[in-house]
Subunit: 251 residues, 2 copies
């Protein structure tokens, strides 16, 4: 085990629709004092992936349904935001003043369907999650492979809250070419006992690690380079981290 080094890429510009994230990352890598090697991982904040894919919605273009108006009253939130939350979700799990927790169409359980508000040039916008974050990751991976000849794992992460604990943590929402869920069932532990139930949320652990160096609030290092041992594994799916509803005791 050789350890892990996480480096936020310097000089990443503000991202707009149509921007080429693979090219932006490849340009920023040398300036950040790192080299991209096969098996390294590049972690992208959901915000930059969503923006590059045009997932910004002008709030004045949104007409809330009757259900959204009603839920807006319950949650004390803008009914136009609630309309977008509903359109992005398969189920509302909790709605109380200040909080709406849904199951997102991607399977994630999270507040506000992961929607962020932003103000751009005086206009109110909402930024939705990428349509298919696994596909986003695969595209960026293919672009980098084609242009730089390097097979790097790609992760798309967001800051998501948890049951039982305060604070959001970096969480994997899409990936290509990285481990996601490590299955240790049947492997011996330090005492030679067989591990009965251990699965490790490896992709989420790496998402949290990357989140630590992305900075917060008005700072912003939305792309992080990760180097270390054995990070790459081609066949894993981010979906492996989603607990099916029928196996979840807490919804």
């Amino acid at each position: 085990m050789s350890g892990l080094t996480l480096t936020p890429l310097a000089g990443v510009p503000m991202i707009a629709e149509g921007d080429d994230l693979a090219g932006i990352a490849l340009d920023a890598i040398p300036a950040s004092g790192v080299t991209l090697r096969n098996g390294d991982v590049l972690v992208f904040a959901q915000k930059v992936v969503s923006k590059s894919e045009g997932r910004l919605v002008r709030l004045d273009s949104v007409t809330p349904s009757a259900k959204a108006v009603e839920l807006g009253r319950t949650t004390e939130k803008d009914p136009r935001i609630i309309e977008l939350v509903l359109s992005e979700s398969s189920e509302v799990l909790r709605a109380i003043p200040g909080v709406i927790i849904v199951q997102h169409r991607l399977g994630l359980v999270l507040a506000n369907a992961g929607i962020d508000r932003s103000n751009i040039g005086g206009e109110e916008h909402a930024l939705l999650l990428p349509l298919d974050p696994d596909a986003s990751a695969r595209r960026i991976r293919d672009d980098i492979q084609r242009r730089a000849g390097v097979d790097a794992g790609i992760m798309v992460i967001d800051s998501i809250g948890r049951a039982w604990r305060n604070g959001t943590v970096g969480t994997l929402i899409g990936s290509s070419g990285v481990e996601t869920l490590l299955d240790l069932r049947g492997k011996p532990d330090l005492f030679g006992r067989h591990l009965e139930t251990t699965e490790v949320g490896w992709g989420d652990e790496l998402a949290s690690a990357a989140s630590l160096v992305m900075g917060q609030a008005s700072e912003g290092w939305p792309i992080v380079h990760v180097a270390g041992s054995s990070l790459l594994r081609r066949d894993a799916q981010s979906e492996a981290l989603l607990r099916p509803k029928n196996k979840d005791l807490f919804r």
Copy 2:
């Protein structure tokens, strides 16, 4: 933002009751090619802290109560383990075949009260969480400060499951001298909007990062050195990461 480097310490021996964890870490640091500086963090796996504090219980010394026998039947688990789980917990949240989720006396919500089984010299044992992991962290921090003249943050972490997602992730259970919950409420975001609700589970993110390099199953690097910027903050409490029951929508 200068990035983060995580290095598992080499040559840490199997830990037994009474072992001096600060001394063991200080011995292992030079052999691992790192230097311990003010503001660095040392992350300890719960298992080594518990063992050094004598938290191993011989299962043949445990007499299950009637309630433990009944819950053992429900969960299809050894009633002696259930007896220990109950003695370590303030509340049972869920009990079904194969699973018992409790609120631990420390406030953590987790399976089996964090108890691991182990077989040492043919005898079945259970390993409980430290009595007071914050106090454990403080002791190790003081020992290191006294002997090496360095003020390092100390974290004690365990691998804990989550609602909604598969896989365990490294989670903070005790700390001294490190950030735990980063409060960004009122700070401007990238667009100049005030962040309304953002608190970041910084201590848990760092716990997950360290867990990535601790190795799994029969491997074992139970102490990890972390270097990076601005990691140290003296006044934070691991308790800040515990969501109070009356603010938790999912128990």
